[in-house]
Amino acid sequence: MSKIKLGVTTHSYVEDWVDGKATLEDMFRHCAELGIDGIEIVQSSMFPDYPYVSDAYAGELRRLENAYGVKLVALDGNMDRGKRYDRDLNENEMLKILIQDLQNANKLEAPILKSQYLMGPEVMHKAEKYAKEYGVILTVEIHNPETPTSPIMTEYYNMMVETGSTHLGFTPDFGMLANRPNKAEFDRAVAGGARREILDYAISLRYDDVSREEGRKLLAAKDANGFEMGMFESMYGYMQFSKTPDYEGLVKILPYCPIMHGKFIDILEDGSESTIPYPEVLKVLNDAGYEGYITSEFEGSVKPGRSSFAYVREHIEMERKILAAL
């Protein structure tokens, strides 16, 4: 029996949330209906008084937790390093953002705060004492195109090993484990004006680990249009995929991972995820003894006539099926 725990992030419901079709209470209720006891909240999308938390909001959250038996397992923070027009934020300014986020996590009794890599290892190191004080584990998200062993993440890892802190860690996002392109995105690009043979060529460049610059030149030589170039750039960014996902790196950093984002783009008719090899991923994590939460993070587009809630349900069902067979 796997000890991996399943949760959901509010980000999964964001289309319905932004368009006024879902409330925070709907999300808690949906988790309860699915038998899910952990929810993660994206502050900059959900908090009415962002970047602050009012007592009223804290009280409302407590009511929802009690009413539905669903507890807050993590808060998501953003590192808006580029919010000034004239320069990037300096270390003190970024540290201030982290302290505020940690205060929020403490106030709402969230055990984990996820922030983003732009803070840099030095600022994260400086924030450690506040994390300790507030009783919160501060994590840096590993999101495509980063991997557990990419240069910046290696710097974070080394800093964590050196400090030996129990209050610093990673939040890996499964998007970095994708091993095939996202079919729905490609269909949309074709509908928008991309040629399938050029996209197939771009995919082959990605699979062969051709460098981004070299790939741009090769595509330009084939007169690639804007849609085709856009897809190529995505494949080296947030849509990155590889034949050999970095499982070894993931297992290496596992002691520093209190939570992970179960990214998904679409659930296919056969019940599998469209881009990420979940059976492999969950087996690797289970074999390595992972016992933390995986919070479902839907990042595809809701198809007409459906709702984000249906996608979350299908994702949880898929994960449960895989975990039960381990």
Binding site: H11, D19, S44, G82, K83, R87, L118, R212
Partner: protein, 148 residues
Amino acid sequence: MGFVMRVKLTEILRDGTLKNYYEMGKPAGYQVDVRLAYYRGQYLSVIDELALTVDGVKAEDQDLRLCVNGKEFAPWELREAYQEFWGIKTPATLKVRMPGGLAEGEHKVNLVLMFHCPYLPLPGAEHAYAPVDSCDEKIMTLFEAKNI
């Protein structure tokens, strides 16, 4: 460069919100509500371009205000509004000073609203972040509420 993000999860120019506003009992200008096209809110300082054009007439910066959180900002003040957060569920009201206001009926409204995503740096660039397109254009109907 060249790649611009578009994350439109709800209507940007909000239907039913185009109306005249009054000062001293007379139409002093018009206003319309807008929402941000993204999945999270943003500080006003990430807005790089804001312009409103109605029936081909572009509002002068002097006459345009973005109103949110009970405050009113001129376009040139936005970039220094580092601490003013525009929530993703919050409509902001664009007000344009135009004595006499707009006539009742249909108007072609065009919004230019470009911002950058402050946590997504462009690869290889110094202090440059991914541009996001929150522009919109539609025919909107203005109703006068003079009998209310």
